[in-house]
Every structure is written in C-alpha cells, then in structure tokens.
C-alpha cells in the first residue's frame, strides 16, 4: 500500500504539517512474524500473553489493536517498543530487525496511558528531551519543539509543568513529545482512557487529523470497540494472546470470522443449524435464499446483526418469535425475542414500532439475507 507523502524540505515546514521525508517504498513497514511471549503469573504457572501473532502494518496506516483486558494487545505494543522481550519470532521495521534492539535505539515512540510526562520539566523541556538524545543542533531542537507544539495546539502552555495542566492537555503534550522525534511508528497505549466522553471524542478527531498531517504509522491500543471503529484504518482483534481477525472496521463488523469477534464488536445473534441448498435451518428459524458465498454445512454457525433483522414486512421471512424484552433508546428500539426453540434473537428496529410491541406477543421475524455472515 503506497501512501502519498507531501514533499517539503526541512526549511519550509508549515505549522500544520510536520511531515516525514519520502523514502523507499515500505521504509516504515512493520512486520510482526509469529511472535510469542509467555509470563509467569504470581502462582508460578505460565501465561501465554502472545501466541504466534503475525501481522503486517504498511507505512502510514492507522491500526487499532482491539481486545478485552489480558488479550495481549498491550504486550504486543510493548514488545514493538522494546519494553518486553519476545520469546520467539521476530519484528522487522523497514526491513531491519528491531526486536533485538534496546528501546532507545528503535525508531519507535510511545504515548503512555498515564502520559508519563517528566514532572520536573516543562512541556517544552519534555519535548526537547527526546530531541536532545539525538545529534541535533540546538536551534533545530527549538524549532522542532515549536512546530510540534503548534501541531497539537499547545503553544501557549509550553512552559507549564505537567502538574499545572488538565488531563487533556497532558495527553496532547505526551503526543507532542513522541511525535517530535518523527518516529517511523507511533505507539499509543489506551491514551484516551482517562478522559471523559466528550473530551475523548474530540481527541479522537484530533488524532485523526494529526495522523493525516504527519503520515506516521499509528498503532493504537484500546478495549473500546466504538473507539476502534471510529479511528482505525484497520482493526486487529485479539483474544487470549491470539490474533483473531484483521480487517477494516466494515469487514470486521459485517463479516466477523469467529463468534468471539462477532460478540466483541457490536451486538449479534449467532444461530446454529444446518445449511443445504442455500437454506438455513436451526434454532427455531428457517432462512431461505442465502447468498452463494455461504457454504453448505451440516453444523454451521451464522451471525446476524440486530439491524439486519426486521419486524416489518419487506425482507425474507424466517420464523415466528415471541417478544421477551423491549428497550427504547431514543434513536432506536432494541428488542430481545425468543424463537420456538428457545434461542434468543437480538433485533434493532425503528423506534416508531414502540407502541405496537408488547412483551409476550408473537410476531413474524424478517431478515436481510445479504447481511448474513458465516462463521462455520
């Protein structure tokens, strides 16, 4: 995947664009090859934090590592940064092997969840610290510090100490500090977790803007699937040390490859039964007219999102269900329905149906067969 990078010489870096110099194609491609890592937990037994993970991230992509606590996403991030040593496999960046390098030699920088700003230094000094570790002239250090401060919109707070700033400001300072070094890859470890909802949403937009402006590869760790789908060019879903699925948010949402992914991202109904002749039968429902992509199987699992179902005439009829629960959320109606065989079906429909549904009623269930995904 080629990324278009604007060519600017170092002398006319404008305020909005702290841009990387163009280099050979793939110069910042990150390749993670069958990486494994185990820990000893307090009781002494081995925990596989990473289990044979392989992933390739092209230059300039915004990738989100998503998964529940303990799934390995943070361990992978720290392994790329150099704070964890991997047990097997290797990690290449731009063709060079980095997993054997100490953290301070890797062209990779991290934004920590706790921001980790140096408390005894001002914001400007925090940012300059990273630059001073390279062989850069003092005048250039100052200009780069100013440029990155403008990028994150913190210029007025340059001389403040971290204790004198709000959470959101500290977060931007941490971001600036990491970006100032123009790393090939920027690692972000749940950086927005400590912010309140409104601030988090505005920071998500800011992050996308900064990502576009710098063209740096961003690897973002979160357990919040909404955040993942809002931010990522691609999402890598992890569970128990294994990479479950990688794809664009759309792919992950509409075509989850496992029950775990289907349930972790968004709501879903998983139906079990047999498929023959493009007809599904199981769990009290019968769905004809399945698309050709769906393979026949005697014990198959299909997944259907709540909004693919409907209680209004129009799509394919699939069975009779009883209403168990109705929840009105303002912009939609969420209903929990039970099929004849006792299987729970989650349906999301227009709120206008509210007064037409009573708990205990039997209604007809319809489904849009084009939106059905197959797991097994």
């Amino acid at each position: 995947m080629t990324v278009c990078v604007t060519v600017l010489s170092l002398n006319d870096i404008s305020s909005q664009e702290v841009v990387l110099m163009p280099q050979d194609q793939g110069w910042a491609d990150l390749e993670i090859h069958t990486v494994s890592k185990s820990f000893k937990d307090p009781k002494g037994s081995e925990v596989r934090a990473l289990d044979g993970v392989s992933l390739t991230i092209p230059t300039g992509e915004f990738v989100v590592l998503l998964g529940p606590s303990g799934c390995g996403k943070t361990t992978l991030l720290r392994s790329i940064a150099g704070f964890e040593k991997i047990d097997s496999g290797h990690i290449n960046l731009g063709g060079n092997r980095i997993d054997v390098m100490p953290p301070h030699k890797r062209p990779v920088n991290t934004v920590f969840q706790s921001y980790a700003l140096f408390p005894h230094m001002s914001v400007a000094q925090n940012i300059a610290f990273g630059l001073e570790n390279e062989k850069i002239a003092k005048s250039e250090v100052t200009s780069r510090v100013n440029d990155v401060l403008e990028l994150v919109k913190l210029t007025e707070l340059a001389d403040r100490k971290p204790s004198q700033m709000s959470g959101g400001q500290q977060q931007r300072a941490a971001l600036a500090r990491a970006l100032a070094k123009k790393p090939k890859v920027l690692l972000l470890d749940e950086p927005l977790a400590a912010l309140d909802l409104k601030l988090r949403k505005s920071m998500q937009i800011e992050l996308k803007r900064i990502h576009r402006a710098t063209g740096t590869t961003f690897i973002f760790v979160t357990h919040d699937q909404n955040e993942a789908m809002a931010l990522g060019d691609r999402i890598a879903v992890f569970d128990q040390g294994k990479l479950q699925q990688v794809g664009t948010p759309f792919e992950i949402y509409t075509a989850p490859k496992s029950e775990f992914v289907a349930n972790f991202i968004g709501e879903s109904t998983v139906l079990r039964g047999k498929i023959a002749g493009q007809v599904f039968e199981g769990d009290g429902l019968k769905i004809p007219g399945l698309s050709d992509e769906i393979a026949s199987s005697s014990s198959s699992k299909i997944i259907i999102r709540p909004e693919a179902f409907s209680l209004i005439e129009g799509k394919t009829k699939c069975g009779e269900v009883e209403i168990k629960e109705v929840i009105f959320t303002g912009d939609s109606l969420e209903a929990l329905l039970i099929s004849d065989s006792g299987c729970e079906v989650k349906v999301k429909s227009t709120p206008l149906l509210l007064n037409k549904l009573t708990v205990g009623d039997k209604v007809t269930l319809f489904v849009d067969v084009d939106l059905i995904g197959q797991i097994a």
Partner: protein, 271 residues
C-alpha cells in the same frame, strides 16, 4: 450490643494503654531534662533549679574532641552512604536475579543482624587482614552500617513515581546513563537529603561498632559518654544527656514543621 457511631474507645484498653505508653516514653526524657538543671551535686536527688552545670560543658576538652571526631566521621559517612545507597537503588531497580537477591541481602544485613555480631566481625576482619584501627577503617565500618538505612528513603521515593516515566525516557532515545542523570537523580534529590540526614544521625549515635573498631585516636562522642556513664551518674553527665536529648528533638521539630509547611504550600499551589 449494637454500637452506632463507634469510636476508638469501643475497642477495649486501646486508648488507656496508648496514652500510658506515651507517658512511659517521655517520663524518662523529662527526668533527664529536669535533672540537668539540678543544683545539687548529688545527681540523682533534686536540690533546686540551676544552670550551673551547663557552663562546665565547654571546659570539657575531651568532650569537645570526641564530638569533633564523631562529626568528622558522620559527615563524610552521610555523603558516601547516601551515594552508595542511591547507586544501589538505581542499579538494581526491580531486578530479581538470584545473585542480586543474595547481594542485596548482604547489603541489608546490618539492619537485620545484631550489631554486636557485625561489629565483632568487622574487628575480626580488620585484624585478620592487618588493617590498623584508625580513622579510615572506622569510616568504612560506619558507611557499611548506614547504607541499608540510607537506602530506605530512596527506594520509597522511587516507588512513588510512575514507572512509565523512566520507560518514556528510554523510549525517547536516552541511554540508561542519561536516564539516570537527567531523570532519576533530579527526581531523587529530596530523598537524597533525607538519606544523608538519616545516615548522619545513625553515625553520630553509633556506639557498639565504634567501640570495637575504633583505635586510640578515634574516640567518638558516644564512646566517651559511655565511659562517663560507667562511672555512674553525675551532674556533668546529666547535662550531656540532656543535650543529647535536646539537639535531635529540636532538629526533628524543625524538620517536621519545614516539611509540613512545604506540603501545605504545594497543596495550595496545585489547587
């Protein structure tokens, strides 16, 4: 029997014993203080108020000399022990190798073993190796004794910090030496001061190790005082004991009020 709005008096005997123990702790101290102003020459029986014995202190050249010896050991000891302890804290970090654990246990041993064992051992070692008992040998012995104490405030302060800060410094390209000089040490400065102060006090107060390891030229203040005490109570000793009481107490009170005012001004500034 249900208790609503319980307080500490509902736990039996806690309050009376607590108060009694404070009285127990301070009664002897007040006694010494009081008796230093005793007019009578019989040190143990009260004969009226007077400050006459305080005046004799300055004439006591042996006392002054031994105090100088103690200071000349305690000040370098404080500096060296604080530095060594800081090096230990920084160099070992969170490492847990077997060898490191053994070495750290050794460094900590003076805290845990009875002082008579360590002091006798040091004397035996010096004798075995042929080191004469003079200033430098006493200084070494003191440093070794103070390091485990000096280590405590430093380790405690390091733990207070977010570990990520040090990782961030590495992440930003700093070699481990630079992390130490630019981040760790500046952040440790207050702990270094308390470390040095702690070592100073321990060295000044030390008796047993000094007794065994000191030679004829290095009579420290506690050794001199012990010699006086062996002869029994006397008005001069009353004054010396009272001074040993007053000086650290005043120092502590000054220290406590200073940290309290700093804490209050920090809290006000951060609001």
């Amino acid at each position: 029997m249900k208790q609503k709005n319980w307080n500490v008096s509902h736990l039996p005997l806690i309050k009376p014993i607590g108060i009694a123990s404070l009285i127990f702790l301070y009664l002897p101290l007040f006694t010494v203080l009081m008796f230093s102003f005793n007019k009578s020459e019989d040190a143990t029986t009260w004969g009226g108020f007077s400050t006459r014995w305080y005046a004799t202190i300055l004439d006591n050249t042996d006392l002054i000399r031994s105090a100088k010896v103690s200071l000349s050991i305690a000040i370098p000891c404080a500096i060296i022990a604080a530095l060594i302890a800081t090096g230990l804290a920084i160099g070992t970090g969170k490492a847990t190798g077997k060898v490191q654990n053994v070495l750290r246990a050794l460094v900590n041993a003076p805290l845990v073993l009875p002082e008579i064992v360590t002091s006798v051992g040091t004397l035996a070692l010096f004798s075995f190796v042929g080191v004469p008992l003079r200033y430098s040998s006493l200084l070494f012995a003191h440093v070794v004794m103070c390091v485990p104490f000096a280590f405590l405030p430093i380790r405690s302060r390091l733990r207070d910090f977010d570990e990520n800060i040090f990782e961030a410094a590495r992440d930003l390209g700093a070699s481990s030496v630079r992390v130490m000089t630019k981040i760790t040490v500046p952040l440790l400065v207050p702990a270094l001061l308390s470390s040095g102060l702690l070592s100073f006090i321990i060295s000044m107060d030390d008796f047993l190790t000094s007794l065994f390891v000191s030679g004829p030229e290095t009579t420290t203040l506690p050794i001199y005082i012990f010699g006086l005490l062996k002869l029994g109570a006397s008005p001069e000793v009353n004054v010396i004991a009272a001074l040993l009481l007053i000086i650290p107490t005043l120092g502590l009170l000054v220290g406590i009020t200073w940290t309290a005012t700093r804490r209050r001004s920090n809290e006000a500034r951060n609001k």
